[in-house]
């Protein structure tokens, strides 16, 4: 099997792309998707390290991250639906009642 360093690099690249999406995009839906990419990057690292060590903990951790991602996505999207009903927008910079 390969050394995990290549996977760690890939994990960093995915994580970085996710961070860029979160910081740069205005569309809240895409921001939440970028968070999912960040978490996928993290999962790649966990799996790579876990299999290198022969330790199922990496898989367990990735499993928990997925569960949390599901919960977070459900809640985040529900909040987006609520805000869209009120303001008819998905632009997070347009939330002006509270100064951003």
């Amino acid at each position: 099997m390969m050394e995990p360093s290549a996977y760690l690099l890939l994990s960093g690249i995915l994580f970085g792309i996710g961070v860029a999406g979160v910081v740069a995009r205005k569309n809240a839906l895409i921001v939440i998707m970028s968070v999912e990419i960040m978490l996928n990057g993290v999962n790649v690292a966990f799996i790579a390290v876990g299999s290198h060590l022969g330790d199922p903990t990496g898989s367990v951790f990735a499993f928990m991250v997925m569960t949390v991602a599901a919960a977070e996505a459900a809640v985040g999207l529900a909040i987006l639906i609520a805000i869209f009903r009120l303001k008819e927008t998905v632009d997070i910079t347009e939330l002006s009642v509270l100064k951003w």
């Binding site: 995990p4 760690l8 994990s11 994580f15 996710g18 961070v19 979160v22 809240a28 921001v31 939440i32 968070v35 960040m38 978490l39 990057g41 993290v42 690292a45 966990f46 390290v49 060590l53 330790d55 903990t57 990496g58 367990v60 951790f61 928990m64 991250v65 949390v68 919960a71 977070e72 809640v75 985040g76 909040i79 987006l80 609520a82 805000i83 009120l86 303001k87 997070i92 939330l95 009642v97 509270l98 100064k99 951003w100």
Partner: protein, 492 residues
């Protein structure tokens, strides 16, 4: 040796009580429909009260590691469980009184509140990063829901949007730090990670992991520069939730910050009782600067606020900065000072928010201008608010003063004079904006002279919050002793 899963259950009763109450609330909501009733609130009070009692019984149990090393039962965890349960009970009282929430069944509201409580219980006890991550999310995700609970008003939903975006990103960064730690050490137990790191030498990945994890925790305690979400969330959320977020999750955030950094990046020195830093990560300097910046930013922006809720939000950022002073010293006395300050802070901050709720119920406003003449309109509430605000400033003989004395004393003992000077200057700044509210209440004529009646029950709760605020300012011995006994942490 950690206890197995079944054997641990008998030491897990407070958490089980909270979980059972959550399930009962679900059933109560299904049975009772969406009619307004006091049942969910009373059920929650009973459940959290039971959890508090069961926690008190654990105080004398020798420290143990439970569930194969997932969580610890030690003085530190018991202290924070009691503290957060107490905060939740007061917040239930606040919620019962608040008119923002009146009008429908509040079962869901209390389900979220108790889920956060369960998360805080586990967060302060976690000794494994898997557990730590999950319990942090169990605190965060229902908090997003609570912040957005008032759907009709745009402010609440916008607050939730902001909260969820910031929160998800911060926890993503934190978990990336965890993946680095797991990669470097091959373990998820805090104690084992600490031992593995202590053997190796300084590396960049170690420092990077520490910074990334600090982002996640810094976000929870709203330390600058991760505080951006908090003023808006605090202003937009229902006021009882604002009070809750500024005390409960913040305390739990401090618990996990202390436990994580001390067990992973430092080892206790048996002779002196002080912690010795593992080579590589000099986080004390980092956090000393963070502390100074946090309190200064919080206080300076608070000066300009005209909305009481927003003002208290920024002041709670400043208080997080004060508490961080105790964190950077690597000494049990510093942690003791944080624990004591958290107790004091619980009473004074929740008390201040309680008065804000009582006034807003009547005036529908949280602007400072609308507090004019409160001293004659509602003398009881105004005097209590004055007590809480003086305590928050840290003026003797109020309890906030004693809390600050302990924090300052440690900083000066360790010779970090510049931090003490910054904190002292900050206290002066905070006097200005707290005193401004008091001046408006007592010295300005009211626009509307009608009396604001404070019923007997809120009066009793206010007394329950004001008395400790006063008494702890003159007789604090038992609480400080309790805090001292709670400094013991086990890491497995």
């Amino acid at each position: 040796m950690p206890l197995g899963n079944l054997a641990s259950l008998s030491h897990f009763l407070p958490e089980l009580a909270v979980t059972a109450t959550i399930l009962l609330l679900v059933v109560a909501h299904v049975v009772g429909g969406n009619r307004q009733s006091a049942v969910p609130a009373i059920l929650s009070l009973a459940g959290v009260g039971a959890a508090l009692l069961l926690t008190a019984l654990q105080a004398s149990v020798p420290a143990k590691s439970l569930f194969e090393g997932m969580v610890a039962l030690d003085g530190f965890a018991v202290f924070f469980k009691a503290l957060t349960a107490l905060a939740t009970i007061v917040v239930v009282f606040l919620s019962m009184e608040s008119e923002e929430l009146a009008g429908r069944s509040q079962a869901e509201y209390y389900i979220f509140l108790l889920s956060v409580l369960l998360g805080m219980f586990l967060l302060s006890a976690s000794t494994d990063i898997v557990m730590l991550y999950l319990s942090l999310e169990l605190v965060s995700i229902p908090s997003y829901l609570l912040a957005g609970y008032l759907k009709g008003g745009g402010r609440s939903t916008e607050a939730a949007t902001k909260y969820v975006v910031f929160g998800a990103t911060a926890s993503g960064v934190m978990i990336y730090g965890f993946s680095l730690l797991y990669g470097m050490t091959g373990s998820t137990h805090l104690g084992e990670i600490g031992r593995a790191l202590a053997q190796g030498e300084a590396t960049t990945p170690m420092f990077l992991a520490a910074v990334m994890v600090a982002v996640g925790f810094g976000y929870k305690i709203a330390a600058v520069p991760f505080h951006m979400w908090s003023p808006d969330v605090y202003e937009g959320a229902p006021t009882p939730i604002t009070a809750f977020l500024s005390v409960g999750p913040k305390a739990a955030g401090f618990a996990v910050l202390v436990r994580f950094f001390y067990t992973v990046f430092a080892t206790p020195d048996a002779a002196s009782g002080a912690w010795v830093l593992s080579p590589g990560v000099d986080w004390t300097a980092l956090f000393a600067v963070l502390s100074a910046v946090t309190m200064s930013v919080g206080n300076l922006i608070a000066v300009k606020q005209d909305n009481v809720k927003r003002l208290l939000a920024y002041s709670s950022i400043a208080h997080a900065g004060y508490m961080l002073m105790g964190f950077v010293l690597l000494s049990p006395a510093g942690i003791k000072a944080i624990l004591f300050y958290l107790v004091v802070y619980l009473f004074m901050n929740l008390g201040a928010f309680y008065v804000v709720i009582l006034v807003a119920n009547r005036t529908r406003s949280e602007e400072i201008a609308d507090y004019s003449g409160l001293g004659s309109r509602a003398p009881f509430a105004a005097v209590s608010l004055a007590i809480f605000l003086f305590a928050l400033t840290g003026i003797p003989p109020f309890s906030g003063f004693i809390g600050k004395v302990y924090l300052f004393a440690e900083v000066i003992n360790k010779g970090v004079y510049w931090l003490a000077v910054v904190a002292a200057l900050n206290s002066v700044v905070s006097l200005y904006y707290y005193a401004r509210i008091i001046k408006v209440m007592f010295l300005e004529d009211p626009k509307d002279k009608s009396e604001i009646a404070v019923p007997a029950f809120p009066r009793a709760v206010l007394c329950l919050l004001a008395i400790p605020t006063l008494v702890l300012g003159v007789y604090w011995e038992p609480v400080i002793r309790m805090a001292e006994n709670s400094v013991k942490m086990i890491a497995f």
